[in-house]
């Protein structure tokens, strides 16, 4: 297989991967009003349970490598968790619950 064909195949694969990623992202964009009301309801119902669940998830996923960080503000914690979501392969729900634990 010549180099130019390989290059074209690579570019087609990359484009396909990118389009798939973009489509998945678009499909997952939450409606702001729904998200807020869902979060608010959950917060009102069981914030303590969510924090406990977040701690459990932290111990299970993040605690495999390191201890909990100290004194993070919610905004800092959100960025740290985004970073850790990639490393530890967390779901969006895991990210939300762990945030409740490390920056309540």
């Amino acid at each position: 297989m010549s180099a130019s064909i390989r290059l074209k195949l690579c570019l087609i694969c990359l484009l396909g991967l990118f389009l798939y990623a973009a489509a998945r992202c678009q499909a997952q964009q939450p409606q702001p009003a729904q998200t807020n009301s869902t979060s608010a309801t959950k917060n009102a119902q069981a914030p303590a349970n969510e924090s406990e669940e977040g701690e459990k998830l932290f111990r299970t996923n993040c605690g495999r490598c390191h201890n909990p960080p100290e004194d993070l503000s919610p905004r800092e914690a959100r960025v740290v968790l985004r970073q850790m979501r990639v490393r530890a392969m967390l779901s969006a729900e895991d990210e939300r619950l762990i945030l409740k634990y490390i920056a309540p």
Binding site: T60, C65, L72, R75, E76, R82, S91, A92
Partner: protein
């Protein structure tokens, strides 16, 4: 190759900037570390600053990068003579993460090679239990530990009793003599994590495509039982260069008056490792001879993310046996990139 990666980064960043952003603030985290090591009577001093930048771009994209700034002090003749020093810097990774869902994240740019678990998860000074890395570090990671190209990663299957995770990557050739040097490689890692016993086991594979093609294989496991503050990790790796393993354990004394008591902040650590050289391959980054080593020591976790670490080890080789003493002081920091960013 660099051009293609650059084009991808720009494309993804443009897409990300168009996405609605939450209250995201870029942060700088990382560690400041001072290590003194004496091996066979030769002492080296190593102050280091390792900053990590993380900047979210919209809700699905994250830019992250880690650099290393080191000043390496050693004696002119090994054990004697005046101290001389050398400044060393490196970019460990500089990548864009395109988080789609827990099943797929695409990483583009320069990233830590995900071969086994040490390089990606345990290498930072504020995480590792021993200041000196294992003999097997360069298996699959090369001397620099980074790849430049594309990586896909995520969780294949998630069930209450188990979870299967994966990474797959391709790295292109970048000038091997530069700070960014990487050889052409392709590989991946797959692991199974059992949340009940908190046990993870997996394997890694890499095909080195530069010059002489060769395969590198690895196995790893990690175990943190719920009932005991114990952390056990191990890796094994094999390539035409040779094979080696390490096994280490940490037991935190948090059961004695709680994790914040003077005694509860202490953690004894121990490690055994071995490397067997089969053939010499230039530039593989592995030890030149057969080695065995046993280390033990103490970690002490002070408040405000400061950690003291002291270890003693005995290294056995076909040339001569030596004592290895390490002492390290690590401070882990995190702050927003501009004032008021944490509010």
């Amino acid at each position: 190759m660099i051009g293609k990666i650059g084009a991808m980064l720009v494309l993804i960043a443009a897409c990300a900037l168009g996405a609605p952003a939450q209250e995201n603030v870029p942060i700088i985290s990382g560690g400041a570390d001072f290590l003194t090591s004496t091996q066979g009577g030769a002492t080296t001093l190593l102050p280091a600053l390792v900053p990590v930048v993380a900047a979210p771009l919209g809700n699905h994209v994250l830019f992250e990068s880690r650099g290393e700034l080191l000043e390496f002090y050693s004696r002119q003749n090994g054990r004697t003579g005046p101290y001389q020093h050398q400044f060393i810097w490196a970019i460990d990774y500089m990548q864009l993460d395109f988080v789609i869902d827990s099943h797929l994240t695409i990483v583009a740019g320069r990233f830590l090679t995900p071969f086994n678990i040490y390089n990606e998860r345990l290498a930072p000074a504020w995480i590792h239990n021993f200041e000196n890395g294992p003999f097997t570090y360069s298996f699959g990671n090369g001397p620099v530990g980074s790849s430049t190209g594309l990586m896909a990663r995520g969780v294949l299957v998630a069930r209450p009793s188990y979870e299967v995770n994966y990474t797959a990557y391709y790295s292109g050739l970048v000038d091997l003599n530069s700070h960014w040097g990487t050889g052409r490689t392709a590989g991946g890692r797959m692991g199974v994590f059992f949340p009940g016993p908190r046990l993870e086991a997996g394997f890694s594979y890499e095909r080195y495509l530069q010059d002489t093609h060769r395969n590198i294989e690895g196995l790893y496991f990690s175990w943190q039982p719920k009932s005991v503050p114990l952390d056990v990790k191990s890796e094994w790796a094999h390539s035409p260069s040779g094979q080696g393993y390490w096994l280490e354990g940490l037991y935190r004394l948090s059961r004695f008056r709680g994790p914040d008591s003077a005694l509860g902040r202490l953690a004894p650590v121990a490690r055994v490792e071995q490397f067997h050289r089969d053939q010499f391959i230039a530039g593989d980054g592995l030890p030149g001879t057969n080695l065995k080593e046993g280390d033990f020591g103490l970690n002490y976790y002070l408040p405000h993310e400061i950690r003291l670490n002291g270890t003693y080890g005995r290294q056995f080789s076909s040339q001569r046996n030596v004592n290895v003493w390490n002492f390290g002081l690590t401070y882990r920091f995190l702050f927003p990139m501009w004032p008021g960013g944490s509010k």
